[in-house]
Structure formats: structure tokens, C-alpha cells
């Protein structure tokens, strides 16, 4: 990879145009040398994933039965986001028509999945976190009731990446969801009345809650956000009936806080030892070390284990926190009844790049080297598609699914990520072209798995970054980052793609590229149709086997939501998506940012600076049917 002049901003070139040609050459040479003097601009090899042809691996494992409803964002406990509905298929998807719409009345990013239970649809908005219930039995699905939790407006000041909410969960006749200002709520699904409300996070110390809870048995599992605010991360189980806290597992600090005890048997030796969540940090740094839990949780009822990720250590400036910074940037397996840790694996030891480990974990039974294994598949932020034995925590494979040059691979013997030394950020210098950038090769936007094709459908981004570490001052309630970042569209000139990945062959099968990062979730159906949305507002249906786009509809704003499908009271299959640009990728529009500052929005605004020309803010539900 050579130094690409096209990646210098146009303003640079205009400057030279006004100067005679010979001197401009000299000037350029000077500029170039000066720039190099201050930076660590290195040519380093990166790689795109291997491509393979489509092999139909019909899934041999079990998949949860489907009743045509959608009770949690991930659809099932294995997080497949697969629906067995097949009325809409590759032959007729082109005939999809708008069935009804509903305005959310919000201007910020809509990352949530609508839920459908008992012929009612439930939608959670970003702050002010209104819960809407729509009556699907009546024409046009009118509003049944709404619940307004009135979260504190001040909490918006500690939301790193727009005021998003990733959805609700249904169980026991209640809708459970979280508010930005740190509460978990249970709302009666029929009446819209508050059942209980429990304060879990303290926004005055930088904590917020943006994740969708998962209900396992009688526990509502909730984690905090705030990895850019020096919080101390945790996962908390709340009793679904009473709202009382059952257990809390901190994700840094002494073993007793992390709920590490005699049942903890990690596969790799580096996670064995006493109180590593203290000793892998400088003194007391673990108390403000981030390692939050704002992402996805999966559950294996047979093994009775939940799987959750842990986000980045703080601050981003890694020089001030020497050590592995456990238990940040990794995966925990826990007993949902007690919270006890069973195993752990660290995807990014001593994280250098904000590679939060909170992405979804797909629980699948796959033939690996000719043997059926119970695995966890994780398209990880650091760019690798991890296949991990979900009973033991052993990494079976980790192949890049996007362009990676910040590391060379994962050592399967030790499980360690092999960082590339020249991409190591430093205080007092700029390191350029780090791929993937801080949001990773893939961020929170969840993928889907089809048992019919055996493929995983991965919406993700292709962006790189230039980084300079700066002083990081901890002031409670304010950001604790210590880094200047500028992100750029990545190698190959595309911002994102919907990628079909074969987890058995460990190869890419097809992809649909887009100018912008794909920041919406994925949905795949038994009609072999994959649904997803783009940041500029197109909602698309693609053939799950070939990647051919079958149909698309331009919604009012950019799409960062999670598509769902359900069987309506009339027996028809519907597909629903929330449109409303925002989130980290789209806050450049929803927050009205000024892209003359290339570091805006932790640098992401620079990679999506064209977006304001393509879309405007505003939230709306769109529901389609044949």
C-alpha cells in the first residue's frame, strides 16, 4: 500500500495551484518532508478477506422455533436474527409495498429493533426514550398507548455517540427497556403502565445505558455505557418481577467484584491468576478504566451460559494504562443465575484502538475440521471473524472479514492478537492509516445467520484512521479519551458493505458495497431474502445466496435501525424498519456537526462528511408487505 495523494484533503491542492509549477514542486517536497517528520507514516501491508464460492451448508444444528413474533432484538437466544417466514421470497420481493408508517417525533439516531408481540408493535425512541405501542389489528396500526419516562436532559451530555437506544425485550407480559439516564423499566405490555423502575447507572459520573436488555429466565440483564467517560463497566441482573438487583458483575477490579470464583476456567493461561482485573492496570486505573457493556448478550439454555462482550478500556490513550487492562475488550461466559464467570477471552489485549468487544455472539453448532462443535461466532471489531468453542473459550479460528493492517492475525496457540508495531499510537506523533479505525471493521450493528444457506450476513464498515495521542485528564462526568482521531474512507474506496460470510469455509462469499458504512442491522428469512438499510436511507432486500439486490425503497432519513419481520393478524408477512439517521456514523447529520474540524465526533464525522448532502434527520417507522 503506497501513500495515496488522493487522501490528502482537496484544500491542500488548491493552495499549490496558485503558485508557479516549479516552486510548487519544491513546496510540495518540503510539505511532504515536514509532514513526515512529525508523523509515523508507514507503508504496511494490510489484507482484505479471502473470497470463496457459495457452498450451500444446510445447518445441522437446532434453531429455536419461530412463532412469527419478534420478542427481542436478536430474535432468538442464539442471536441469529433469522425468521422462518417465507411468504416474501427471492421471486416476489420486488413487489414489496409500503403498508403503514409511524412518526417517532424524534431527530436523533434510531438504532432500535421494533418488537412484535400479541399483534402489538413496540418501538423505543432515542432520548427521550418514549415507548410506543401500535395496534396491528386495526387499519394503519394506530397508536395504542405511549409511555414517557422523561429521562434527564443532562444525560445527553454523557452519550458518546448520539442519544441512541438499541431496543426493548418482551417477557412475562412486560416490555423491558433502558433509559439514557440510567434506569431499567418494566412496562405492562397491555396497558402501558409502569410496573417497576430501577436506577442502575449514574449519569453524573458519565454512565448511561443504550443497550437492549436480554431477559434470561427471571433475570433482566443490563450493562452500562460510558467507555469514553472513565466509568467502571458492569453487567447487572435485575429480577424481572420485582426490579431488585440480583447480581452485579463489574468488568474491572478484584475477582470478587468481577464474580470470578472457583468455576472460572479460562482456556488460556494469561487469564489465570488472582485479581488480574487490578494487577493488569496501573494503580487504581481500573476504577476509571471503562470496560463497559453496551452491546449484545446471547444465551445457551443447554449449557446455561450467557455470553457477553466487554468494551474498550479507557482512556483511548493507551500509554497511560500499561498492562493487559483486564477484563476489557473481550468475551465472558457466565452463569445467568449467579453471574459467576465461567470463561473469558480477550480479543484486544491492552486495546490500542478503541476496539470495544461488545459485538453480537452467534451461538451455532458447526462442523469444524470435520467435527461438530458448539461454537460462538463473533464478527469482532478488530476485524477478525472469531469462531470460539463456547464451552471452553478456545479460539478455533479467526480470519479477517474486512481490511486489517493494525494486526497480523491471531495466534491460535496463545489466543493473542498480533499487533503491528508501526501502527502503535504514540504521544507526540501521528500514526496514519490504521485499519480498521476506532469503530472497527464492524461495530454494534448486528449480523444475521441463515440455517438454509449456512451464511452469516455481516453489515459493516471499511474505514481507517490517523491517530495522535494527547493528555488524558480524568474529570468525573466529562470525556476521558486523550486522543485526536481523523477517520477516512478505507482502502478500496468504499465506506461499508453487506458481507455474506461462510463460517465453515471461513471465507467471504459475496458483498454489496456502499459509499457509506452500513450502520443498520441485518435480517435474513426463510424466503432467502436479506434485509438491511444504508446511511443515505435506502432499505434493501437482497438474495441471500447471490447478493443480488431484489428491491429497494428510499426512506425519509438514513437507516441505522434493525429490520424485523413478523406475521400480522391477517396472516401476511410484514417487514419493519426504523429510519432516522444518527449514531456514531450519522451524528454528523443528527448533531449538525461542522466537518471543517476533522476530529469531530471522535473523528468519525470526517469519514461521513458527505452524508449531510444525502440525508436529513427525522425518525419514522416503515412497514412493508406484498
Amino acid at each position: 500500500m503506497q501513500f495515496l495523494p488522493s487522501r490528502i484533503s482537496p484544500a491542500y491542492w488548491d493552495f499549490s495551484a496558485r503558485i508557479p509549477r516549479k516552486s510548487s514542486c519544491l513546496l510540495f517536497l518540503c510539505l511532504y518532508l515536514c509532514a513526515c517528520n512529525n508523523s509515523r507514516s508507514h507503508v504496511s501491508e494490510g489484507q482484505f478477506p479471502e473470497k470463496g464460492g457459495f457452498q450451500n451448508n444446510v445447518y445441522q444444528g437446532r434453531i429455536e422455533p419461530d412463532d412469527g413474533q419478534w420478542v427481542r432484538p436478536a430474535k432468538d437466544y442464539a442471536s441469529t436474527r433469522f425468521s422462518s417466514l417465507d411468504q416474501i421470497n427471492t421471486g416476489n420481493a420486488k413487489d414489496l409495498k409500503l403498508a403503514f408508517t409511524f412518526s417517532t417525533g424524534t431527530e436523533r439516531g434510531l438504532e432500535a429493533a421494533p418488537l412484535v408481540v400479541n399483534n402489538t408493535m413496540y418501538i423505543v425512541t432515542p432520548w427521550p426514550n418514549v415507548l410506543y405501542a401500535l395496534d396491528l389489528t386495526r387499519p394503519g396500526a394506530p397508536l395504542k398507548w405511549s409511555f414517557q419516562p422523561k429521562p434527564s436532559a443532562s444525560a445527553k451530555g454523557v452519550a458518546c455517540c448520539d442519544w441512541v437506544n438499541r431496543g426493548a425485550a418482551y417477557a412475562f407480559g412486560n416490555i423491558y427497556y433502558n433509559t439514557l439516564d440510567g434506569y431499567t423499566l418494566a412496562i405492562n405490555a397491555n396497558t402501558g403502565q409502569l410496573v417497576w423502575k430501577t436506577r442502575l447507572a449514574d449519569f453524573t459520573r458519565g454512565e448511561s445505558i443504550t443497550m437492549a436488555p436480554l431477559v434470561v429466565k427471571d433475570k433482566v440483564l443490563v450493562g452500562n455505557s460510558g467507555g469514553e467517560f472513565g466509568v467502571r463497566g458492569w453487567l447487572t441482573a435485575v429480577d424481572a418481577h420485582s426490579g431488585k438487583i440480583a447480581w452485579r458483575a463489574y468488568l474491572t477490579g478484584p475477582d470478587k467484584d468481577v464474580l470470578i470464583g472457583p468455576r472460572f476456567k479460562p482456556f488460556y493461561s494469561q487469564y489465570k491468576g488472582k485479581d488480574l482485573g487490578v494487577s493488569s492496570w496501573p494503580p487504581d486505573a481500573w476504577k476509571i478504566g471503562g470496560a463497559s457493556m453496551w452491546g449484545w448478550i446471547s444465551y445457551d439454555p443447554e449449557l446455561n451460559l450467557i455470553y457477553h462482550g466487554v468494551a474498550n478500556p479507557g482512556p483511548w490513550n493507551s500509554e497511560v494504562r500499561p498492562g493487559d487492562n483486564l477484563w476489557s475488550a473481550g468475551i465472558f461466559a457466565r452463569d445467568p443465575d449467579t453471574g459467576e464467570a465461567v470463561w473469558y477471552y480477550q480479543t484486544s489485549p491492552h486495546d490500542l484502538y478503541d476496539y470495544d468487544g461488545i459485538n453480537e455472539n452467534l451461538l451455532l453448532d458447526l462442523p469444524i475440521n470435520g467435527q461438530m462443535r458448539k461454537v460462538l461466532v463473533r464478527p469482532e471489531r478488530n476485524g477478525y471473524m472469531y469462531v470460539i468453542d463456547r464451552q471452553t473459550g478456545e479460539v478455533l479460528s479467526a480470519k479477517p472479514f474486512g481490511f486489517v493492517n493494525s494486526s497480523k492475525g491471531v495466534d491460535l496457540k496463545t489466543g493473542l492478537l498480533q499487533y503491528v508495531e508501526e501502527k502503535h499510537p504514540r504521544l507526540g506523533g501521528v500514526v496514519r492509516d490504521i485499519c480498521p479505525a476506532a469503530p472497527g471493521a464492524k461495530d454494534w450493528q448486528p449480523s444475521a445467520f441463515s440455517p438454509r444457506t449456512g451464511l452469516i450476513y455481516v453489515p459493516h464498515q471499511n474505514i481507517c484512521m490517523d491517530v495522535e495521542e494527547t493528555d488524558a485528564n480524568y474529570i468525573a462526568g466529562t470525556p476521558y479519551v486523550g486522543e485526536n482521531v481523523r477517520m477516512l474512507i478505507g482502502h478500496g474506496g468504499f465506506g461499508g458493505e453487506m458481507l455474506a460470510w461462510d463460517p465453515v469455509q471461513q471465507k467471504a462469499v459475496w458483498s454489496i458495497k456502499d459509499h457509506f458504512p452500513i450502520w443498520s442491522g441485518a435480517l435474513v428469512t426463510a424466503g432467502d431474502v436479506v434485509f438491511f438499510g444504508t446511511l443515505d436511507g435506502w432499505f434493501k432486500a437482497a438474495n441471500a445466496r447471490t447478493g443480488e439486490v431484489l428491491w429497494q425503497f428510499k426512506t425519509g432519513s438514513g437507516i441505522i435501525g434493525q429490520p424485523v419481520t413478523y406475521k400480522g393478524p391477517d396472516g401476511k408477512q410484514y417487514v419493519a424498519i426504523l429510519s432516522g439517521v444518527g449514531g456514531w456514523a450519522g451524528v454528523v447529520v443528527s448533531g449538525g456537526l461542522d466537518t471543517r474540524d476533522e476530529s469531530a465526533a471522535l473523528g468519525f464525522a470526517n469519514a461521513s462528511k458527505e452524508l449531510p448532502k444525502y440525508t436529513t434527520k427525522g425518525g419514522m417507522l416503515y412497514v412493508f408487505a406484498l
Binding site: E468, G477, A605
Partner: protein, 174 residues
């Protein structure tokens, strides 16, 4: 001879121009923060009359050293964590003409001290008032509101935006 004449003229012109340099004031006191003197309105409607007398002037806006201190403190107090280098992200941009809570020096000073209800923390009792005024002066330089010879001409960071002295002036809309 004529050439020498031109050189002398040029030299004198240069000398005169350099008289316009900012004045270095030593031991500069902070502007008054007596609230009875403050007129930090955020509105354009004044029922029953005209706009009250002008706001408190920030003398630090005339002083390059104070502005550069403001730039340093803007980073040290983590303003940069939310507003970044003026483009915004968690908080709104500061380099454009839009001011939710007013763009006059007194408004900005008060926003820092009092906080604002949509996420801006209150730094009351945390930042010495003199430093608040320094930060205020720097914040206004981000949208080109300060004289070019006072506004910072360079950053000690990677190049992520034009220096404040080259920023096109964007007078506050409100």
C-alpha cells in the same frame, strides 16, 4: 536613489503596520463578573423596549497570550472531549455561527459556569474565573471572531483544521 526611496517607504509602512500588533498587558484582571453588571440575554425580543446595554467586554480577546492559555485550558478541562476542535460531536459545534445559548462573551462565560440543561456540565467552583474568561476568548476565536494577530496561529496537534487565525469570521446569529 528612487529605489532607496521605495525601500524607506516600505520600511516605514512595515513599522507602522507593526504598531497594530496586539498589546501585551501584564497582570490583566478578569472582566467583571458582578451579575448586576451582566446582560447576558440570549434572546432577540425585549418586551417593552430596546436591547439593554451591551454585554461585558472580554479584555482577554485582545491578548494573544490569554487566548493561547484559553486554548490550552480548553483541552485540559476536557472541553475538547465533547466539542472536539470546534466541530462538535457530543456537544454542538463551536466554530460556526449558531449559538444555542448565545455567542457573546458573557453568554459563553455563563454557559461554562452555570452549565446548560441539555448536557453542558456546570463548572461552577471548578475553574477559576480568570481561566473561564480565557477559555471564553479562545472559544470565540474558533469562529473567527478575534483579531487575526490575537487568535492562535498554529496548533501543537496533528493538522485537523485550519488554525483559528485563518478562520473565516462568522458573527453569532444569536
Amino acid at each position: 536613489m528612487k529605489r532607496l526611496y521605495f525601500i524607506v517607504i516600505g520600511f516605514v509602512a512595515l513599522l507602522l503596520a507593526s504598531c497594530e500588533r496586539e498589546q501585551r498587558r501584564f497582570q490583566q484582571g478578569a472582566p467583571s463578573t458582578d451579575t448586576s453588571q451582566s446582560h447576558a440575554s440570549m434572546d432577540e425580543i425585549y418586551p417593552g423596549g430596546a436591547r439593554p446595554p451591551s454585554n461585558v467586554a472580554n479584555v482577554y480577546e485582545e491578548n494573544a497570550y490569554m487566548v493561547s492559555e484559553g486554548k490550552r485550558l480548553y483541552e485540559q478541562y476536557n472541553c475538547v472531549g465533547c466539542h472536539f476542535h470546534g466541530g462538535g460531536g457530543i456537544g454542538p459545534p463551536l466554530m460556526d455561527a449558531d449559538w444555542i445559548y448565545g455567542g457573546e462573551p458573557q453568554n459563553i462565560h455563563d454557559t461554562i459556569v452555570e452549565g446548560r440543561p441539555n448536557g453542558m456540565p456546570s463548572f461552577r467552583g471548578k475553574i477559576p474565573d480568570q481561566q473561564v474568561w480565557e477559555i471564553t476568548a479562545y472559544v470565540r476565536s474558533m469562529s473567527g471572531l478575534l483579531r487575526k494577530d490575537v487568535a492562535p496561529g498554529r496548533s501543537d496537534d496533528m493538522s485537523i483544521k485550519k488554525p483559528e487565525e485563518s478562520q473565516k469570521p462568522e458573527p453569532p446569529k444569536k
